[in-house]
């Protein structure tokens, strides 16, 4: 805190000297839960860039519970009338806080820099409240990735990555026959839901995905297509090793890396594990989108809360501008393993999987097949998402029939809305 006090007069003076200019520095307190490995390094990049522009960065990392602890802290801060300037907050959570009247817009920065032109419209919509930007995305993660170990695939005579669920099932059966675990998976609700939403996209297509998992249409939720998706999920339960319950996702990734399992279905943060182990994409491991010709979007963003004081507001605007600058988007995402949220950043420095992700993103935007992730809190509120996770997990861990699952899913969603 004392650092803040000593710098304030300087910054205020700078603010007077360059009044109106966004490069006037400022102070920003950032609440986030990126505390481990590549994530901490990535947020360090943001801090360095911010300080290079002459701002003061107050770091408020709150570890634990995948952000639950940070959300509890945020709630207390907002109730006390002292919110941080920027919070790592994503998806419909942004709208929830906006409805509480807690957010500040950065529309002037966004309009001046033309954010609308460089962000995929689906993502831009999530960042806005009543047409004004209240958050800035730092990256795009693709959720519908399938990772594989080519050596293990070769043992079962599989040459190419499956492009339909039928091919996937055939490959998995061949692997089972060869005594290899086809699918590395961790039995945690969000991981179950990750597979589920990728299956829904593959079985039903992007329009069905949107109707069921984004618009929560009752007819789509309790439909034959949904039953078919559950049937596929039931099949995949058989491709998982018996000891999967409660396993963390990175341990499942390690199983693919070590040749104990063939495939993993997981977002591109899994790539970070492969790269950290010195594996080369296309050679030591393969990446391919899960069947479905779509793109399931996950994106981390910083949301701006109402702060008072010239200095804090200047810092907030500087941060917004910085997050969306092409240079930062490149360095940050090289560290985090995702791809830039801006679609106009060249990906020459990125690996093959990231380049594929970028191409598919553009294609999916064109074909209207870009959908926000349900499992990763991009599509629906935490309460409805919780109902999805409960049901999918119960289905995955029991012998519930697909018809019952679809019926109960529709009922659960109705209850939570």
């Amino acid at each position: 805190m004392f650092r803040y006090k000593t710098v304030t007069p300087l910054v205020a003076a700078a603010g007077l000297a360059f009044s109106g200019a966004a490069q006037a520095g400022g102070t920003v307190e950032v609440l986030h839960w990126w505390t481990s490995g590549g994530e901490a390094r990535a947020v360090g990049e943001l801090k360095n860039s911010f300080e290079a522009e002459g701002g003061t960065w107050i770091d408020s990392p709150i570890a634990g519970g995948g952000g639950d602890a940070a959300m509890t802290a945020l709630r207390a801060r907002v109730v006390a009338g002292n919110p941080p300037a920027a919070v790592q907050l994503k998806g419909p959570g942004i709208q929830e806080w906006a409805e509480q009247g807690a957010l500040a817009d950065v529309e002037d920065v966004a309009a001046a820099e033309g954010w609308d032109a460089v962000l995929p419209p689906v993502l831009a919509g999530i960042m806005k409240y009543q047409g004004e930007y209240v958050a800035a995305p730092v990256n795009i993660h693709r959720v519908d990735w399938m990772w594989a170990n080519p050596e293990v695939l070769a043992k079962a005579g599989i040459g190419t990555m499956p492009t339909t669920w039928e091919e996937f099932n055939a490959a998995a059966d061949a692997l089972l026959a060869a005594g290899i675990t086809p699918l590395a998976h961790g039995g945690q609700p969000w991981q179950d839901a990750t597979i589920f939403e990728n299956v829904v996209l593959g079985v039903g297509g992007a329009d069905f995905f949107r109707a069921a998992l984004v618009d929560l249409d009752q007819d789509a939720l309790n439909s034959p297509t949904m039953v078919a998706a559950f049937d596929q999920l039931r099949r995949m339960r058989g491709y998982v090793d018996p000891n999967f319950s409660g396993r963390d996702w990175n341990l499942a990734t390690a199983m693919v890396m070590n040749g104990e399992a063939a495939f993993q279905i997981m977002g591109d943060w899994a790539k970070g594990e492969f790269l950290a182990a010195g594996k080369v994409p296309g050679q030591d491991f393969l990446c391919a989108p899960t069947p479905g010709n779509g793109f399931v979007l996950n994106s981390d963003s910083f949301t701006f809360f109402k702060v008072s004081g010239e200095d804090n507001i200047a810092g907030q605007k500087l941060l917004a501008s910085l997050i969306m600058s092409p240079g930062f988007q490149e360095t940050f995402n090289l560290a985090k393993g995702s791809i830039p949220a801006r679609t106009d950043v060249a990906l020459d420095a990125f690996d093959a999987c990231a380049q594929r992700s970028h191409e598919d993103l553009l294609k999916a935007t064109e074909a209207n097949a870009l959908v926000p992730s349900m499992a990763h809190e991009m599509a629906i509120s935490r309460s409805v998402r919780g109902e999805f996770l409960d049901l999918v997990t119960e289905f995955f861990n029991s012998d519930m029939s697909s018809e019952t699952a679809a019926e109960r899913l529709a009922a659960a969603v109705k209850r939570a809305m």
Partner: protein, 294 residues
Amino acid sequence: MLTAMARAIERRLPLIVVSPLFAVSLFFVYGFIAWTIWISFTKSGVMPVYDFHGLAQYERLWATPRWYVALKNLFVFSGLFIAISMALGIFLAILLDQRIRIEGAIRTIYLYPMALSFIVTGTVWKWILNPGLGIEKVMRDWGFSDFTFDWLVNPDFAIYTIVIAGVWQSSGYAMALFLAGLRSVDDEVIKAAAIDGAGPWRVYTGIVLPALRPVFLSVVIILAHLAIKSFDLVVALTGGGPGFATDMPATFMYAFAFQRSELGVAAASAVMMLATVCAIIVPYLYSELRGARR
């Protein structure tokens, strides 16, 4: 005059000293209980709101399948946990009561698990029971290749692993309470019974155990409140899984309040837990207070 005042102060000194503590606990315990009850009647989601919304959150709660799983687990867990801990506790206490050597050392050993936190107990048992690391793997490595003990990852049996860990932790404590009770039974009565030709079984079932009635009551109360508030053990041992098969009301409430931004439903479930505790404690207090008056 002055001495009269001094005497008055002296007489009220305990009250004066205790009152700040009383006020604090009044606010932080009963104040927040009242707040939680109020929140359970509102539409609170991510942030608390204070407009009365009727019983909607309770309707929602009682329509949620996961809540029934949590309740069923609570009954299965508390029933088995209390029964087995008490049975083991009294059995061990009777054995220890036979005036054996190094009783002090043995008593300490049995009491030691109580000194661990439930987080430690849960983590240790998680490793012991994990099919890939613990008992199952050891038995298979020893050549029993068909040996299966996968309760921890089996949704139908996972709740019993929590019973195992809970019993391991708490039966020593039950033993200590029973042992103290056994020691307070009048020796003369037992000797008289022996002279009358009663065997040890008859002595225990006919004289000693009935004399331990108040101890039974205390043990049940203590174990029951451990069972109802069980949270850390579940979190450390199974994390509520597989799926939400080992959810308890306390973990349910945590999930809804902090992971799902549904303060209203969470508050409603907390009130239901409070009601359960009251249902156990109030009759107990009533009988205790009535006994004191008599």
